[in-house]
Structures are given as C-alpha cells and as structure tokens.
C-alpha cells in the first residue's frame, strides 16, 4: 500500500513534532506504529510520515519465510535476547486473537535438525512444548542424528499490511520516495528521523559493519506440510543448510546465504541447491508446484544498530534514531526493537521538554 506523492515540505505548525520514518519493511512499520501508539496522545501534535522507495510486496521483509526463531547461539549484544523475548510475548498475545488471520499470524510446530548432538538452545523454555527428538522421529530424516521439536510463531504475507493499515487509520502518511541523505530530510523540517533502511543504510551513512547476506527462496504449493523443518550445518553456517517453512498459503524452501552479494536476481545454481536439498529432506515436495522464486538481501551486522545520533544541518539539530542491521532475524526481534526505539524517542521528548503529560509506561 504505497501512496505516490510529490514531497511537500510540511507547513510549520507550532508545537508539531515532525517525525520521518525512512523504510517500510517490518522494522520501519513496526517502529512507526510503536512510537505513534505511545506518544501521539502525549504530544500536542505529531506529524509522522513514512518515506520508502519500496513498499510491500517488494521489500526484503516480503522475501522472509516469516518464522520467528532466534539464532541458536546467544547474540553478541545481550539486549537482543530481551528484544527477542519481548517480540515472542507480543506475538503470543496476538496469535490467539480473532484478528490473528488478518495480521497473518500462525502458530506452527516443527523440527530443528543437526548432524551431531548439541546442547539445547538458551531459548528452549520460552517456546511451546520443546522436546528432543526420539530415534523414531529421526527415522524420518535419515541424514540427521539429533534434533528438537517445538512450536513457534510464523508470519504470513500480510505482516506489513496490518501495521500499514493501522498507521493509515492513525493519520500517518506514506510517500514513495528515495531518500538520498539525512540532510535532505532534515532540511525538509524533520525533528526526528527514524532510520529503518535495512541493508541500504550505508547509502545514507557509511557503515562498514553492514553487509548484505543474500538469500534466495522458492515458494511452493504444498498444503499438506504443517511443520517447519530447519537443518543446521555448523561447518557451512547459518541459512546455508536446507529449510522448509510453511506459511499461510505457500511453503517457503530455502538454504542460501551469501555474504557480500548484492545481486537481487534469482540464480539458477542457487535454485538447484535449494530444490535438491529440500526434496532430499522432504521427498513429498517433489510433486509440489512452484509458485514463486525470490531473492532478498538480509541486512547483516555483528549486532543491530539501535541508537540515537544527533546530526547538525544548518543551525538546527536533528535527532536520528537508527534501527537497522537485523540480519535474518528481523521478524523474530522486530517488536522488541520497536519498543527500544520508542524508549529512545521518549528520551528525546523529555530532553526537549515536549511532553504535555508523563509518557506511558513502556
């Protein structure tokens, strides 16, 4: 849902806080929503706009299989574990609501498979029904010797439609535009810029820590698949081993991760790698019809950049909140990051003594 419009500098209004969110993937939309929900009522006036050159279904979020599962190893930044947990709890509370289908939320169980026995992950007590696989379970997967089974939340293709709709209902406007610099946005009158530009953040401000982790996926029609199957090969690395993740309408097959590859074009060798790997894992897929094939660029960074920065253009300070670099776990962690970004926003308001009443408890 994109509104193409010419950029109109906003008419300055006394006491209006002007917030520009750059990026309309899951990070941009959820951060925008989180901030708007918490601060609209405590500000005299909030003018929030979302600028993006791509909207769903053309964002990187759209290529994601949508399964919310943290990495097996603990994150470098311990805060990320908290943000994962907050997202998990948030999704749990929403998955059973009557609205879950519209939001595109589903509960799905499945298998994580390994070639060797490994210790249980630190998040085992936070998922539903974690258990280690028995020999009988493993008979289904002859190439693997260890694994576990548990429930997880997954997102369907409407992951971005729901926050977009809610933002629109709140009066937030969307603009299709490619932002070339923070300065351009600041000079347009923005008080706060929320930078959710994902893998392309480097074009606004160089960041040598940010790299693309190219992924390719095949979407098939295989409605009998009710479980996810994710294999792990520590020698190859994350996302390089076949995975099968059922979504709401289609099943996503994947297993590609190429660091530093900016190509957004589907590659035939990658197609073969995915297809052969997944059919070997799950022979029933051989007859599945291919519905789509997509490439996306995971915004890989040693840790997420979620912090404030003050930039000075002309004679005024513009606050920037960076929220990018979520790698292949953006959906898994998005809400916790949005809450953190909202906290940072709250601090900005306190410093500028802009609040007309105390901020809501986050």
């Amino acid at each position: 849902m994109a509104v193409t419009a010419h950029f109109n500098p906003s008419v300055p209004q006394a006491d209006t806080m002007r917030v520009i969110v750059i990026g309309a993937g899951v990070i941009g939309l959820s951060t925008a929503l989180c901030i708007h929900e918490r601060y609209r009522s405590v500000l005299p006036s909030l003018d929030m706009r979302v600028y993006a050159d791509r909207f769903t279904p053309l964002t990187n979020t759209d290529v994601a299989a949508g399964l919310c599962q943290p990495y097996l190893s603990d994150p470098r930044n311990p805060q990320e574990a908290d943000w994962n947990q907050q997202t998990f709890d948030y999704l749990l509370s929403r998955v059973h609501s009557p609205n879950a289908a519209n939001v595109g939320l589903a509960l799905v169980s499945g298998y994580n498979l390994f070639h060797e026995a490994i210790p249980d992950p630190s998040w085992k007590n936070t998922v539903l029904g974690f258990r280690t696989l028995t020999p009988r379970d493993l008979d289904m997967f002859p190439d693997y010797r260890w694994g576990y089974c548990h429930g997880r939340r997954g997102y369907g293709p409407t992951i971005q439609t729901d926050p977009s709709r809610r933002l629109t209902e709140r009066g937030v406007k969307f603009f299709q535009k490619k932002v070339e610099s923070f300065e351009e946005v600041a000079r347009g009158g923005a008080d706060v810029i929320i930078n959710c530009t994902g893998v392309w953040a480097g074009s606004l401000q160089p960041d040598p820590l940010l790299q693309p982790g190219r992924g390719q996926i095949i979407k098939v029609d295989a409605p009998w698949m009710k479980h996810f199957i994710i294999t792990h090969d520590p020698e190859k690395g994350i996302y390089k081993s076949p995975y099968i993740i059922p979504g709401i309408q289609t099943v996503t097959l994947g297993g590609i991760f190429q660091l530093g590859n900016w190509s957004e074009v589907n590659n035939i060798q990658d197609h073969n790698t995915i297809w052969e790997g997944c059919c070997r894992l799950e022979p029933t897929l051989q007859d599945a019809k291919i519905v789509a094939e997509l490439t996306g660029l995971r915004p890989v960074r040693p840790q997420i950049r979620l912090e404030r920065e003050q930039l000075r253009f002309a004679s005024s300070n513009t606050e920037v909140i960076h929220n990018y670099g979520h790698g292949g776990y953006g959906l898994t962690i998005h809400w916790g990051c949005a809450l953190e970004a909202a906290k940072l926003f709250g601090k900005i308001l306190e410093e500028r003594k802009l609040l007309k009443m105390p901020p809501p408890h986050l």
Binding site: P98, A101, A106, G129, D137, G156, P223, W224, T284, D287
Partner: protein, 342 residues
C-alpha cells in the same frame, strides 16, 4: 485351478483397503469391488481422517493397538514418500485437551503416535477451560484423495470396479466364489444386522490455512482438524439419526465451540456443511466368516463392517485381518455345488 472370484461389496475406506490387502495376500484371485457409492460420496469422505483411535466394545486392547499400529505404520510410510500428496496423507501435530483429568492419563495408543507427551502449563494457558492435555503428532488420511489413490492402484493390479447397488448378497452367486462384505451401514440390509445404527456427524469444512495444529476436546465432540485443502470443524454424535441434510443451528453451535478453542477461526471463510452417518455396531467391528446356505447353494461371506467413528484409524489393521479370513476361506477345499433335485 481357475482363479478364485472375489467380490468386495463397498468402496469406502474399508472396502478399498480390504480389496488391496486381499489382492496382496491371496494368490490367483480376481477381485471386483462393487458399490453404489464411490468417493467423494462415501461416508469416509466426510470424515476428517485423523488417526486417533478409540476403544471398541468386546475388543481386547492389544488387538486394538495392533490394528492401530498397522494402520499408522502403513500410512506413515506413505506420508514420507513422494506419494504423500496424491494419497492425501500427512503428519499433523496438535493437542487433545480435557476439562477434567481423565481416568486414563496415558491412552493405549500413546507410543504408536509420535512424540506423545502431556501438555505443559504454558501450553494449557491457551485453553482456559481445560486443565489437562496431550500433545502429539499423528497422521491425517484424507479420503477424498486416499480413496481415488487406492482405486487407481487397485485398477493397476487388475482389480475390477463396478458401480451397482446390491440388495441381497445372493445376487453375487454364482458369479463369485467369496464375498467380502464391507458395506458399513448397508449391512443392516445385506447381513440383517438390525442392531447397527448410524451415529450422525455434522462437520464444517472451512478455509483457515493459518491453522496448522489440530485441537480436539477429549470428549470427542469438538475438534479442529487442519487438512490439505481445508480445516474441518466438528462435530456431533447423534445416535440413530439418519438425516443427511445439514442443520443450520448445529452448524452455528459447531462454529461457536470451535472459535472458543481457536479464536482466529472467526476469520475463516467459505464454510461448507457436511453430514456423515458413522456405521455403529454395538458389539464392535465384525470380522467373521459366515457360510451362507440356501436352497443347496453356498456362499462364503467374510464380514468386515461396524467401524463406527474409528474406521480410518484402524482400517488397514482390520483389512489385513479380513484378508487373512478370505485367504483361509479360499484355501478350504471347495465343495462342489450339489446338483439340483429338479
């Protein structure tokens, strides 16, 4: 010796699987499946096909367990093969939940299904009205796909398929040497089994593809079974009710009970009502050979009916047993038909 001519009456899951087992077990026979109804118009087609067995009267638990295990193993092999999509067989995980702690906390079939365990407190939070539950992975065997798949394989083995309504088993004499009666409720007429009655079940087939787990209330009355092309919501158990037309109020009740367990179902669409009459036999499944005799004619009949609500869960195990009975029948020396006295 000429091949033995075997007629299998009935083309639901019991009839077709029995024909299949007979074709594998009995050498040198020609098999004809005769039925007035075929998929998608059989009782089996209405069933969700979840492999969750129940206890049958007069049937020892070890026997039930064997039937269930044989069925599970047979379908599990299909589910893991490239045939799974065509055969309509797939794995599904979920929960069976109870409003009060059941007398038997671990059912007899717990080690046949996969990953059976008791639900944790965290899992039970999803169901505030329930205090206890089982979590496991089992199979779903969808007759609208499974029956045509069986039929195709039967035809490939040379089995003949005939659409015809049989009013009396003697109609099959002398064209056939052995009859296998898999006519379900039809046995009221064909085997004078007046003790049989329908246990009416109404279900809703809905579109709700985000539902990936089954949920079944331990009473068996309310269930949500996600399948390949729809989710089946149920149900009812109405004894002696022959009415095949859906009842709108019952549909509302089913929908409401299922939404209480899974609120996201309120977003379900394309709701279709279906009714099936489960073939209930008070004494349990009849697996028995009967030698019909009349006016000097003899007709061996292997009866295989009365599966109630557990047909799909035990069909392969009972079909193997029925095939053994047919095999014994065939091996017994054939007595020549006495000449007519006229």
């Amino acid at each position: 010796m000429d091949p033995v001519r075997i007629a299998v009456v009935g083309a639901g899951v019991v009839g077709l699987s029995t024909a299949m087992c007979v074709s594998k077990l009995v050498p040198r026979c020609s098999i004809t499946v005769i039925s007035d109804k075929f998929s998608p118009d059989t009782t089996s087609d209405v069933a969700a096909g979840m492999l969750i067995p129940h206890v049958y009267p007069n049937t020892p638990i070890p026997t039930l367990k064997q039937w269930f295990r044989e069925t599970f193993d047979h379908l599990f092999a299909i589910a893991n093969s490239a045939e799974a999509g065509d055969a309509g067989v797939h794995l599904v995980s979920g929960w069976q939940i109870f409003q009060s702690i059941p007398a038997e906390e671990v059912p007899f079939w717990a080690d046949v299904v996969l990953g059976f365990r008791k639900m944790t407190k965290a899992e039970l939070k999803k169901f505030p009205q329930h205090v206890f539950g089982h979590a496991f992975t089992t199979l779903k065997c969808e007759s609208p796909a499974y029956l045509p798949w069986l039929e195709k394989r039967l035809k490939g083995s040379g089995v003949l398929i005939l659409t015809r309504r049989i009013g009396d088993l003697w109609e099959l004499h002398p064209s056939f040497d052995v009859v296998v009666n898999c006519s379900g409720l039809g046995s009221r007429q064909l085997a004078q089994a007046l003790e049989m009655f329908p246990m009416r079940g109404q279900v809703l087939n809905v579109q709700a593809p985000w539902v990936k787990h089954f949920i079944r209330d331990g009473s068996g009355l309310t269930y949500i079974y996600p399948g390949t092309s729809n989710v089946i919501l149920g149900g009812t158990r109405q004894q002696g009710d022959w009415n095949l037309s859906p009842d709108a109020e019952i549909s509302r009740g089913i929908f409401s009970r299922c939404c209480a367990l899974e609120p996201s179902l309120q977003g379900a669409c394309d709701i279709r009502e279906k009714v099936g009459l489960r073939p209930f036999r008070p004494a349990g499944v009849r697996l028995q050979t009967e030698f019909l005799a009349q006016d000097g004619r003899r007709l061996p009949v292997v009866h295989h009916y009365g599966h109630g609500s557990g047909g799909i869960s035990v069909h392969w195990g009972t079909a193997l047993e029925a095939a053994r009975l047919v095999s014994e029948c065939v091996q017994a020396p054939r007595t020549p038909t006495p000449k007519s006295n006229l």
